[in-house]
Structures are given as C-alpha cells and as structure tokens.
Subunit: 344 residues, 2 copies
Amino acid sequence: MANKTYTVAVVGATGAVGEQMLKFLEERQFPVKELRPLSSARSAGSTIRFRGEDIVVQEALPEAFEGVDIALFSAGGSVSEKLAPEAVKRGAVVIDNTNAFRMHPDVPLVVPEVNKEAIRQHKGIIANPNCSTIQMVVALKPLYDRYGLDRVIVSTYQAVSGSGWQAAIELQKQSQAALNGDELPLQVMPVGKLDKHYPIAFNVLPQCDVAQDNGFTLEEMKMDRETQKIFNDHEIKVTATCVRVPVYRGHSESVYVELKKDFDLEEVRTLLSESSGIIVEDQIQEQIYPMPIHVENRTEVFVGRIRRDLHHPHALNLWVVADNLLKGAATNAIQIAEALISEE
Amino acid sequence: MANKTYTVAVVGATGAVGEQMLKFLEERQFPVKELRPLSSARSAGSTIRFRGEDIVVQEALPEAFEGVDIALFSAGGSVSEKLAPEAVKRGAVVIDNTNAFRMHPDVPLVVPEVNKEAIRQHKGIIANPNCSTIQMVVALKPLYDRYGLDRVIVSTYQAVSGSGWQAAIELQKQSQAALNGDELPLQVMPVGKLDKHYPIAFNVLPQCDVAQDNGFTLEEMKMDRETQKIFNDHEIKVTATCVRVPVYRGHSESVYVELKKDFDLEEVRTLLSESSGIIVEDQIQEQIYPMPIHVENRTEVFVGRIRRDLHHPHALNLWVVADNLLKGAATNAIQIAEALISEE
C-alpha cells in the first residue's frame, strides 16, 4: 500500500486552479505514477511542467480517462457534467471542483477538516465545495463541535481569481486603464456568461454568480446548502451576501455566528488556534488580523477580529480569510485525494 | 426671513469634505452673505473659488468666528473640540462633521430624513453622524416606521476617501506601484495616526478606525450607538464589521435587517422607492444593483439586492450604497444647515 502509485488526470490543467493542483501534487509528493494533464481542444498541445518534465496537454475526451485512477476536475460545470461520468465509467474516482454534482445525494461534499469520513460513501464522484463555503466551514467546525451552531450571517469580499485567470487579467488591465484615464475593458466581471459587464477596478460588485428566483445569487445559495450538507445538519441556517472586490487572490468573509449556547471568548480563540488548518491572527489592539495580501500561497484558513457580539448572548463575529485558489480549491481537492488513498 | 442671508464659515475648507461643502453651498444656492473658508495654518493663504470669486483661506483661530452665523466643521475631531466652543461663544451655530460631540446629550445628531425635528433642541452644536451610519439609517427609516426595527447586522465596504484626499492619493500611488511591480508606499491606511500601515491597493483591511476594549473598532461602535441616538430608540441593536476596500468614493453596506413583524417584499420596495433621499436599484435578474462607481457625485442613498431572508420570518437583506463625501458628509451637513434656517 505504501508503495502504491496512481495515474492522475487533471482536467483544466492550464486554468488558475488546475495549475495549483499540479503544483501541489508535486510539492506534497502525491504518489503519481503517470500525470495526464487534460484541457479543452483550444489549450491541448501546450505543455506543462511536472517533476522536471514537460508533459503535453491532451484534449479532454472520454478516452483520455482510460487507465486513470484519480481525475481532478476544474474546468467548469458543463465539462464535469459531460466527462465525469465517462471517467467514472472507466474506473476513475473523480474529485470535482465544480458545482455540477455538489448537491447530488450520492456525491459526498468534502472538506477534510470537517467531514473526511464522508469520502467513504462515494460512488465514483467526490465534490469539492465552493471556495467561499470551504474557508467558512473550516472556521466554524471547532465552534460547531463545542457549542452547536444555530445560524450564520456572512458577507464576502471575494477575489477575482475565483472567476479564473481571465478575470485577474481584467482587473489588472482595468486598473491600469483607470489610472491612465482610459476607457475600461469590460469582458468578464461580474459573471462571464451573463450579458452585462461592469468594472471591478476601484469598484465592488454585489453579484458573484447568476441570480436565483428568491433574489439571492447562486453563490449565496451555495453557502447555505453546502454548509448544511458538509455538516450533515439541515438545521444550520446560513444567510450570505456575496460580493466581488478588486483583489487578485484571497477571499475574505465577515461572519456573524450564533451558537446554541454561551461560550468563553478565550476558549474560542484556543479552540480555533488548536484546530487543524486554522491560523488565528487576532490582536486588533496591535493591528493584527488576516488580510488577502498575506494569505497568498498559504494553504490554511486565517481567522481574526474574534469578538463577542454586542447584543446576542450566544453570538460572536469573525473575519475569515483564505487563498481561494488553494484552500478554496486546489488544496482542498488534493487533501481529498490524499484522504482517499490513505483509506485504501 | 426669505431674504435673510448668513455668514458661513467652513473649517477644513481645503479637505475632501470641505471642498464638497463649498460646492453644495454654491449649487444649492444657500443664502450666503459672506463665506469664510478656514483651515490649519499650513493650508491658510491658499485660495478657494466660490461663486466666481477667489477667496483667501484664513487660519482657523477663535477670532475667525466673529460675526459667523453658521460654522461647518470638517477638520478632524481635535480641531472641533478646540474651536467649536469658540465659534458657539461668538454666536455661531456649529454643524460638526467629526466624532467630537456626536454622543454628547446636549448635541442633536441629525440625518434630516430621519430626525430633522431634533435640530430644534440644539444648544449651539449640531452633529453630523458618521458616513457609514448616515446611509444606513436613511435606508432603515421607512422600515422602522412601518414594521419596527429589532436588529441589524451590517458589513461595510468603505471607500478610502473617508480618510481624506491623502488616502485617495495613496490608493492611486499604490495601485500604480503594484502594477509596475514596485515597492508600495505605505503612509495612511488603515488609520493614519496608528503605527502600522498596510497596502489598500488590491487588498481589503478589516479596520476603519482605532480598536476599542471590546474588540470592535470605533467605526463599528459608532454605527451601533449613533443609530440608537438618531432614532431615539435604545432598543435597536446594530452589530457592525467595518472594512476598507480599494475604492475611491462610495461606501457599500451589506445589511441584514430583523424587523418587529412580518412584511410584504413588494411593499418594502414601494416604501423605499417613495422615501425622500432613496433611489431603489433592485433587479438582480437584470443585473441591476447599486455600485460605488455609479454613485459618485450623487446625493441620494441607493438600495438594491432587496430580498427576504431565507431563515428568519421577519428579516430581509439590503445592499446600500452612497457617496461617502456627499450624503455621508457634505450633503447631510448642508441639509442640516438648510433645515436650521428654514426653522427661523
């Protein structure tokens, strides 16, 4: 078992998250026998570097999954919908970073710090939650276990890289155009596939995904229902407002948490500090708190501004920041893969 | 009375808010007999343009208030503390934009759309609330009157100009330096007078003012206690998280509102639309919502993303945006001055 190695496919290998996945497979010495980077026809033929070798990116066709043990998908929901079943049919376990299967009853939705054991129930596909959900549930888990969790009201400050490299380039180009007094190029933000595009440079956009009938956006609904599924507790209530800000990397969240019973604030700090995957940065008097520029390339979830609510006896407030491309996506996916093979 | 004119002093005339005050006095045809622009010794001697004339800025010394009817202060709390009593002693009514007197029991704290009548109780000083409070209470007022207001949980997305022109220049310089890959100049953000300075370009800062003993910042505490004072209702509970974002002008707020009774969402939209000083921009399906870049130079409060809470029967969520230099400061101060003279 210790010597077992795996053929690993990365679908979306040239994208913002795919690139990080390749980096982590290498850095964390994942036992890769063969790496198969896959992409759309457009990016196929380019090469990626892995363990000192150049590997040609192949087009993600059903046959490309022959002999694959683990397939990491991060190329958009429609690609996962079409190709994940093809990969499973050929014997692969799919770890899917898109929204395609997250709420499917047969698909575990996993954040290893919270519900690693759910992996065992997979029937071929394991889903990686939405980036803004992942970092929040990591911070909530120790509080849930100790005090019980009644409700959460969260407002996000999300980085553009959550929408891919194109969005990051758009922020850069728009910022320079704004500084020069030129017209701003508008192509991606707030949602690439929708009709209207607004500037993100020197602006904030209260929309991170398509609208739902209830007036919430899909991103906001994900935070509610994914949290319930990850904790396997349908009584947790999450109200989210998801907002895009002109930051390249690092999602921030202002989180109001109502617990089931009273708590001691020092105990909360200790619980969080001692939890796997969390770093507490919480000394407002010394101006110490998490910020997106400090979390880039960090795999942990950073928590600060921990304070007892002024008005509700069982509530507290947190400021939660993480690298959306890492713990929010690639790191969590690789952690799932690591947990998966450790069970074998 | 209709012909009465006033000698008006503007303290901090060369600052970000002072400049807007001068513009509004002119544009709104405030009955100014004599304008007296005042500033620190450093800026004294420069000239400002008012009604087609160049007027020399004088140093703000106690004697400068001789003969002044109305003194608009926007030069920081310590200047107000020292000079507002001097202005009052010489017969002026002070409208103060700083935090110096806001919670003083003898000082009305006024947002004309909410508590215009409080102006009558002044004893020489009338305070202008904090920018982030003003725009929120304008949006809450129609809901308070119709349904009663239990609690508010708000997270802010505040523009740098709330910290003055220097902060806006810092954002501009840092943004260019970041795009060039140069070292970032750090002088103002998050709080000029504190020791540590962090980048605001392509970052967010979960601190808008000094820390308090309870772990909240002063800005966050202002939103709670100022709201109670403006509504003259000490049972309203406000929990705030105040965050600076890389935006020049326009504060945004994600506001969760728990009302005292159930409501009809269409009625809420109608109530807000028909309220003085509010513009509703609320069609998420059409990607219509308020954004900071659209509110620059607008005097109204913009409300969108109006939606019934998923979990609490009497709660709804709002996205509230306003120009922090105008309704958040200069416009509100001039509206107070207008209300003051209309009472005479």
